[in-house]
Symmetry: D2
Subunit: 345 residues, 4 copies
């Protein structure tokens, strides 16, 4: 199968390449970049040099459509909404890692992203690729919208509780912590080492564009769920997201019952691992891998459930889940190209 990656010089793009190069069913992978055409990839990323140097190509949609079977977009906001339709119309499959096709309602997109996106027809056509919970739809998708990093960790952590209506609908608070790679490769004061090291910052308080993405999915699962509080913190590490999720139980629960529920919910999921009672995952325990690890606590004093969900933001939170979705779309083994352990320590 011939694959194209548009936007190959960002962190998600180069991470896609890490998986695609050793994927058993991919014969050729071409890289496209708007800023560095004609330049070898190793110019930007010396670590990526292997035999057979890869050259970044000019984004020529005609040529891409003519030579590739499926196209990944690992581009900044506002790019794929313009380009992807050209491919869709020609029957080429698209997996979009940006947020352009994630929200079904254009006005919601415009409010949170402060820009325009694709037309309704494509927003409706796009399948939301939270693999574990949407496999049926993903199988037939032509345009797949890959979830955001925070929504992936949060939704996998909340799904069993929400789907089984175990928590008060207005009680969800998510305190999320992310490594700095989530901010991309663009240099800024915000990603400057001396400003970020030995530091925790909160950012985009009540304004993060992943808030409506999470709410949309929760309300698809249970229309009674109300707006959530969702905060994002920048942690002095490169990779990893932890979502600490708080919610009030509707009635008395027990830890045992909750763990049973989660284990059952994810028993067929290769990439979700539920911890034993009293154990909670750390972000490093999924580093570099496609796993989402989940731990659960129930506090009898307060009647609150705490769910701890960790992912590698560039893998399960971006490129890894995109490959997982590719595998499901193509009917391949779900872990093709993704069957490796976390790097520890």
């Amino acid at each position: 199968m011939n694959i194209a990656v548009i936007g190959a010089t960002g962190y998600s793009g180069v991470e896609l390449l890490r998986f695609l190069r050793h994927h058993p069913y991919i014969s050729r992978c071409s890289l496209y970049s708007s800023s560095q055409e004609g330049v070898p990839l190793s110019h930007s990323f010396p670590h990526a040099r292997e035999e057979g140097e890869l050259i970044l190509q000019k984004i020529d949609m005609e040529q891409i459509a003519a030579t590739c079977d499926l196209v990944f977009f690992a581009t900044p906001p506002g790019v794929s909404s313009g380009l992807a339709p050209l491919l869709i119309e020609k029957g080429i499959k698209v997996i979009d890692l940006s947020g352009d096709f994630r929200l079904k309602d254009r006005t919601v997109y415009e409010k949170w992203y402060k820009r325009q996106t694709a037309s309704d027809i494509y927003l409706q056509q796009a399948v939301y690729g939270l693999t574990e919970w949407n496999k049926e739809e993903i199988r037939g998708a032509q345009l797949l919208s890959n979830p955001g990093c925070y929504p992936t960790a949060t939704l996998l952590g909340l799904a069993p509780l929400v789907k089984h209506r175990l928590i008060e609908e207005d009680s969800i608070i998510v305190d999320a912590k992310s490594g700095v790679s989530g901010a991309g490769r663009q240099a800024s004061l915000n990603t400057h080492f001396s400003e970020t090291n030995e530091n925790v910052k909160i950012y985009k308080v009540n304004e993060h564009q992943h808030i409506p993405e999470i709410e949309q999915m929760l309300q698809m699962w249970d229309e009674h769920v109300q707006l959530i509080t969702f905060s994002t913190h920048l942690i002095p590490m490169t990779r990893g997201i932890m979502a600490t999720i708080y919610a009030k139980a509707k009635e008395d629960l027990s830890l045992e019952m909750l763990l049973d529920l989660y284990k059952t919910s994810y028993e067929d999921s290769k990439f979700v691992r539920v911890r034993k009672p009293g154990q909670f995952p750390a972000t490093k325990e999924v580093y570099g891998s496609n796993y989402c690890d989940i731990g659960i606590a129930y506090d009898e004093r307060t009647g609150r459930v705490t769910v701890v969900s960790v992912i590698d933001n560039l893998v399960k939170g971006a490129a890894g889940q995109a490959i997982q979705n590719l595998n499901v779309m193509m009917g391949w083994d779900e872990d093709s190209g993704l069957a490796f352990a976390p790097i520890y320590p």
Copy 2:
């Protein structure tokens, strides 16, 4: 004034010394250690060498009582509850940085600390040294119990909301993040660099011994406040605590009104700085200093208030606040020995 520090080889002890050596009203400071008597301090802490080498002395309570006017305990749990009464009875003032005298109810202490503590008479006598809110009592204290690091950040962040009864009494959730120095100098897998670096961990979920300390104070301010959810995370940095505090507003509030309230509440406090609208403090912005910086958000979508409170856990969260309490106890300027800026970057 002659000062003794018992437990000078831990992080809080050596941090006390950093302030005491250059404190304008301290003439002599002696160091005591149970494990390293006769050894120069610079053996454990080469950074601390100044002219006039300090030698760690054996803990001899008679000798300490005979030569010192005030004694700091920077000891592990269970030490000061045994030793401090010997000094109290002789009229020596005591400032205890451990948790031994923080909880008024012995059974609560025993439940959360899994050990015994001092007898009721001393627990009742001990003054809780949250300086900004307890100055009157601190002035006359003989036995001062210095607050824990997490309670300091949390209570300074919550005080105006709770005292003015602006939030639902059952709605408080605190998600706290701490640097690794909060775990002390003891080597363990939990503080091992390779296990902690590039990692976020949650720990002691629903079981942290600072939970009852926070609840005790909140309920002293407003008896209707109910049990809280309080979570602690280990962050790959050495110093710093951020408490992200969530609570539901009782009625419609505005950011402007909240900021006014906080500014008024802390207008006479040298060490609490309230940020402008839309701005939030990062832990590095108080690094090495005695400041507590606070930022506030109000989300009209959900009716929730978010308060972000940061401190340096070893300064305002331990040794710095202890010096601040010393200053208040002695009637000195509150920032004596503490008048320096954060180190940035």
Copy 3:
């Protein structure tokens, strides 16, 4: 092929497992531990949980010899020198990641390691597994001694210069920098996060046990090479070694000539990548992979060559090179189980 790993609860052991589990020619891998027999591996390493839980077994040499074809030792100093001979005598192949069999001269071992090691017969039998330069011998090895992390980076960086006698024999100085994982998983003040973070330390000045290992190999290549100066620094990162190597050119050289030499020397090496003129590798560019990346400078002002050599200390510096040696010993593709890119960022 059936494999045993003795010492599976250290960092090298668990890293071996990362590669062995997905190695195409390994059918079964058993783990042995002296301290945790009967315990699932995921108890110590939750990140390593996959389908089919691995249980740590008691070290029973009879049972190991009866069921395994090849045994890896990832043990502390002094273990394999005692146990490996039992396997050797039964015809089992051994790959030892510890230093026990690296030095040919027992008295040198005793001087630098301050302990005894194996008898001469095994020291002579052991093949030193610096794969790129010893392939012929490795092919027939029964007892393979895997090189130390520092020697690997240093020797790969120095080999072309020394073998071609281009540098003054008494001019070699190596300034090496290592991440903290090189110190193992044992908790100590030296690996404590708060003592190591935001810090560079030099350690074992002129006393590191890898010095004689490097000198032994250099003098095997050119008996005229004299004793070297070799320093080791602890860097606040988990993985990675950089060896910055300085030597005086015997006669006028040029950068072009040096780069040609290195490229030719390593043109058949899958895991050594030589950088372009003016470019130097960073440790992160080999993170998690088996690559050794090398950059070279020649200073016409001083007539000195500077070689920069980087590896991941737990991969090419330990478990990865061990697998590479396994592959050569068995006649498999040299990158079997190791064909993956560095993780970046």
Copy 4:
């Protein structure tokens, strides 16, 4: 005394302010910036807010000359060489933290800095402020050129060896490691957290502009000293420099003799601390302070001396030494405004 700081929005500028605000002899300190005139300093640096908000002023040389007694330049290369002469001519004292006045030979400056600098008359007039070794000249200086960070650590480490002619003149190699704050506050891929964290990089190999600055001073001390090899590495920490210095002894030395020499050399220096035999300083042990800590080894195997010299690059390597020079220039106690301990951990 009235002080101006030009270039107050960089790391050196804000660090100067940390010391000047609490300096006993400074009555007023004004801040000037070319990019942010009229803006409060706390806009860029929230950590620096104290009572009495400081406003950044436009750089108006007439006004500065009329109102200030002494001016610090904490500006990028090429600024002070143009502006300082205007002040010098009016009798205002200048302390320049940039490199513009450090090299006595304009052609050398132009070769290494790739730009022009001040005219010879000012280069000759400028006094090089390596305080410990140049006190006499500093006392009478009107134009003081503050040393670079690397030269400070290196020269303090080498001075006793070079001045006493103990080492081979062509044998000096310096391997220096620096935290990222040395690269300034400008955002770039080179200071991006995700590119720098968990990483060691070498940079400007054989091309660093501090090389001629070090050589100039060494040759002033001993004209026979030859060109040196000097390498710089970027370490994943914010502050701190370690210079590991290698040199060949001319004749047999002993560690005892070397330590005596260093202790004698620095016995009157408040800010240089020499370690005991077998002990070496770590960068964290001077964090935030004006100390330079030095450890020494002598290897009888190779006849080489290793000197380890550490400083905080923003303090002794920049703003702290500038204040120290101010104190010497004015005849104040050398540690005025600088008498505080390192922050540890």
